[in-house]
């Protein structure tokens, strides 16, 4: 994986010193809270309901064991012993003191980590496919391109005060595992007929109040023009994105209002201009970065196959492992969704254990997924049982990946100052209900996503079943959506009808799944059945 050189280290160190100075000026009263707010946000520090929240960047979701250990150490030392992994492959801590923030950043910098641009109206941490470099269906590892963009977007002088936040995801396979089409820019590395790699740019996707699927703006950007083209995309947005209304300020609204073709034409004109401005890095830099993502020393000639005579282990293997491009290896997902647990939460002890396991079983590497789980990307199949036993002993072997218990949920009203409703207790109830009734495994793949407000941090628009918490006359109320998806077949969910209270929505989900079980045809997932039979039968069982 990528390692800092003295330049990268120097930039992060400069940022720590800079932030320490900003905190000093805030505490001295030289900065008003209004002036300080965008500065602390660009360092990932939010003021929440009860305390400050610090969001630490995990570039393209990749962590070494030493970095993972540091995340555990910070949970212990500065938080109440927990870390919360987020839908953008980051981690956040919910109980931080402002005075401690510079010291935390300083500790993070010792393991080449930071909280740069994890918030604010700037280019956020770049995300990527969590099976990058391991998946069998990839044309290349997308992370070198994400790393190049990390450098380009860090402290960008022109794009630090954009109309609104800006999220970029990079993938390199047909199958989209990073919700790429729901990002401000999604980049898909692909191969042309001549076998060369290039980048397709999709622009204007997003969730929030106005969910939109992105438009393909350019099918082919040569790899030695990647930064120039991205710069053009951002400049057009910075100049013409709306600034009169923060709810209409994302780039998706600009594309919606002027049209994707007009936007593409403007970007193209800016791109032609920028080609002469020398903004592109030397190609040697991309090659330098690629060497950090070279294959680990895989054992060659291993055969596939795992003894699955232990039933609990077999269930976990079938549910939580992903096809690896090397024979004899697999990618194992550690579910952070135990029955009745808080989605994405891990204790300091669990974080340390996962760090140890990454070191022992996966070439010193683990990944954070946008579904709030942890991946060990390169595990030898012949050692899988040993790994599973270690996980099981720590309560980390829940075999529910992509099932109804693998819920994505935002922190909701328990922590977040924007939320209208709680998300965590609802996730816990749903998870418990489907564990108790024993239907989870029968139902199979069903992605359930909960947001505690319309900002959609819990990706409810993209859930096979989505839940949106709203405030109705001072009471928490939950709207139900069906039919969303973030995969290769991206679609946005539709609201079923009037909302439910907390217990009501759990019952409604159970009815929804019962109808699915009654209606499904051979091999159909919930989403497939919904798409075939439509909304009406579901409305009937819910409201009829």
């Amino acid at each position: 994986m990528y390692q800092y050189d003295r330049y990268d280290q120097q930039m992060v160190d400069a940022r720590v010193a800079d932030f320490r100075d900003q905190v000093r000026r805030r505490l001295d009263g030289k900065l008003t809270e209004d002036q300080f707010k965008p500065l602390r946000l660009m360092n990932g520090l939010y003021l929440q309901l009860h305390a400050y929240m610090l969001r630490v960047a995990v570039p393209y979701g990749t962590l070494s064991a030493a970095q993972m250990h540091m995340l555990g150490t910070i949970a212990d030392k500065y938080d109440r012993g927990y870390g919360h992994f987020t839908t953008r492959q980051n981690i956040q801590y919910n109980w931080i003191r402002l005075e401690d923030a510079p010291d935390i950043l300083s500790e993070l910098s010792t393991v080449e980590m930071h909280a740069i641009q994890t918030s604010g109206n700037c280019i956020r941490n770049i995300s990527a496919d969590h099976f990058a470099g391991a998946a069998a269906d990839e044309v290349a590892d997308p992370r070198p391109y994400a790393e190049l963009m990390r450098q380009w977007s860090s402290f960008h002088p022109e794009f630090s005060y954009l109309p609104r936040k800006f999220k970029i995801a990079v993938i390199a396979s047909e199958t989209d595992r990073a919700a790429m089409r729901l990002h401000d820019i999604g980049i898909r590395i692909h191969k042309n007929d001549a076998g060369e790699l290039g980048a397709a740019f999709y622009v204007g996707g997003g969730m929030g109040r106005t969910p939109m699927i992105s438009h393909l703006v350019r099918e082919w950007v040569p790899l030695d023009r990647l930064i120039t083209y991205a710069e053009a995309c951002l400049r057009v947005y910075n100049r013409y994105g709306r600034r009169d209304n923060k709810y209409k300020a994302r780039i998706k609204i600009l594309l919606h209002e002027i049209g994707a073709e007009d936007y593409a034409a403007q970007v193209d004109a800016e791109y032609q201009h920028l080609l002469d401005q020398g903004v592109e890095p030397p190609f040697a830099e991309l090659e330098r970065i690629r060497t950090f993502f070279a294959d680990p020393s895989f054992v060659q000639g291993l055969s596939d196959g795992v003894d699955q005579s232990d039933q609990a282990f077999a269930a976990w293997v079938q549910q939580n492992t992903h096809l690896h491009r090397m024979h004899g290896y697999t990618s194992a997902t550690i579910s952070l969704k135990p029955v009745g647990g808080i989605p994405g939460d891990a204790t300091a002890a669990q974080i340390h254990l996962m760090a140890d396991l990454a070191k022992e079983f996966s070439f010193d590497e683990c990944r954070v997924t946008h579904a709030q789980n942890i991946v060990l990307p390169h595990v030898e199949q012949r050692r899988l049982y040993e790994l599973w036993q270690r996980l099981d002993a720590a309560g980390l072997a829940t075999a529910n990946l992509d099932n109804i218990g693998d819920i994505i949920a935002c922190p909701g009203l328990d922590y977040c100052s924007l939320a209208n409703a709680r998300a965590i207790p609802l996730a816990q109830k749903i998870s418990q209900r489907f564990a108790d009734n024993g239907k989870e495994a029968v139902i199979g793949e069903l992605k359930l996503k909960i947001s505690g407000c319309i900002n959609a941090c819990g990706h409810h628009h993209a859930g096979h079943i989505g839940i949106l918490g709203v405030d109705r006359k001072g009471r928490e109320n939950y709207q139900l959506l069906l039919g969303g998806s973030e995969g290769a077949d991206t679609s946005l969910g539709k609201i079923t009808g009037p909302g439910f209270d907390e217990d009501g929505v759990v019952d409604a989900i159970e009815k929804t799944t019962e109808l699915y079980l009654a209606q499904r045809q051979e091999g159909e997932r919930f989403l497939d059945t919904y798409r075939r039979i439509g909304m009406e039968p579901f409305k009937e069982v819910l409201y009829g």
Binding site: D5, A14, D21, R25, K30, F155, P157, N238, H273, P281
Partner: protein, 164 residues
């Protein structure tokens, strides 16, 4: 990075409230006009860009401009950074002044986008500003300040110097 030529002297304050200036030519002695007014007449040499204006409207007239003021009514409105870069990319070499809600923590980015004078609405702490101008020992990306980005330095390129 160069020291500002007209750091904190009181004379500069009287001339348009400029607090920091990184050039040593004469300051323009008349007020800047709006982009619309400027494009429609020939005798002004100072123009002021507001956030909604298109900096490219000025490109045909760069040879007769000595001062461009870019107004930041609110520091959170970043359109002025693009306006500044567009002018520098087109070869504008006159004074480029950031005015309005110009604060300590925006100075280094503004400098990178080609601003070479600063007239903050509220006078800034000189020590904090000095530190802010020197925030970044190196930079990740190319802009219009002539600094060679880190990825160029890594591969044997040298610092360009240029108009910085």
């Amino acid at each position: 990075m160069a020291e500002p030529i007209s750091g904190t002297d009181s004379e500069a304050r009287e001339l348009d409230d400029v607090q920091f200036r990184f050039r040593n030519d004469e300051m323009v002695d008349h007020p800047a006009v709006t982009v619309d007014a400027f494009v429609g007449q020939t005798n002004a040499s100072a123009v002021r860009i507001e956030p909604g204006d298109d900096a490219r409207d000025l490109l045909l007239h760069l040879d007769r401009i000595a001062l461009v003021e870019v107004n930041f009514p609110s520091f959170g409105d970043g359109r002025g950074y693009s306006a500044a870069r567009i002018l520098r990319e087109a070869g504008y070499a006159g004074e480029l002044r950031a005015v309005g809600d110009v604060l300590i923590d925006q100075l280094s980015h503004m400098r990178r986008c080609g601003f070479d004078s600063f007239a903050p609405a509220v006078r800034l702490d000189a020590t904090d500003a000095e530190r802010a101008f020197a925030t970044w020992p190196d930079v990740y990306q190319a802009a219009v300040d002539g600094r060679a980005p880190i990825w160029t330095l890594r591969h044997g390129g040298r610092d360009g110097g240029g108009n910085g």
